[in-house]
Subunit: 116 residues, 2 copies
């Protein structure tokens, strides 16, 4: 799973916020599919990046970033994505929530540390 | 840390997406402050809910949800929040990114499971 920061352009752009509670089933299948989804997403037109993490309790948040609503819709209708998504909802999650949002402003930075 | 799903109204509303890389310093102080921030946020006018998780590698995502931009700005300028935020950026994180977004649509659900 990707746990680094996405390098994004200046806003505006779009965010898909996916939160999910994993059940205890099929860790190997889930992990392979999650990796494949990020690999496929990165090939889509308008994909900007993603950040993802999951705690030991199985609650996870993945935020993917996109240049436009059209790019999000094209990804939604991507055939392999749709098939894996349907499998995932049936087998891997107890609950999920998905929110689509337009990012209006952003800031952040690495924190400088004194050199020892 | 809160790792349950936020119960939100129908969009539109706003999301503050905060991703961060924790360093290895001061777990006790950080944990107490994180709990206190969620407690304070929940008392703010326009606060709708939050979801938060962090992986074993220290990379975390917290998304808080707000009724309006004005509610986000009031929270930003809350004195205790501002003080803890400044302390956190100085001591607890190696890197953070913050994005403010307007949620335009949302869906999700608990997945029904057959009763055994």
């Amino acid at each position: 799973m990707n746990t680094s920061f996405a390098k994004l352009p200046e806003p505006p752009y779009y965010a898909v916020i996916f939160s999910s509670q994993r059940n205890a089933e099929d860790d190997a299948g889930y992990g392979a599919a999650a990796d494949r989804m990020l690999e496929l997403a990165a090939q889509q037109p308008g994909y900007l990046g993603a950040e993802s993490t999951r705690g030991a309790d199985g609650f996870g948040i993945t935020v993917s970033y996109w240049a436009s609503e059209a790019a999000i819709l094209a990804w939604k209708h991507h055939a392999e994505h749709a098939a894996i998504r349907a499998h995932g909802r049936k087998h891997w999650y107890d609950h999920f929530e998905l929110r689509v949002a337009k990012v209006e402003r952003a800031y952040g930075k690495p924190i400088p540390r004194p050199v020892a």
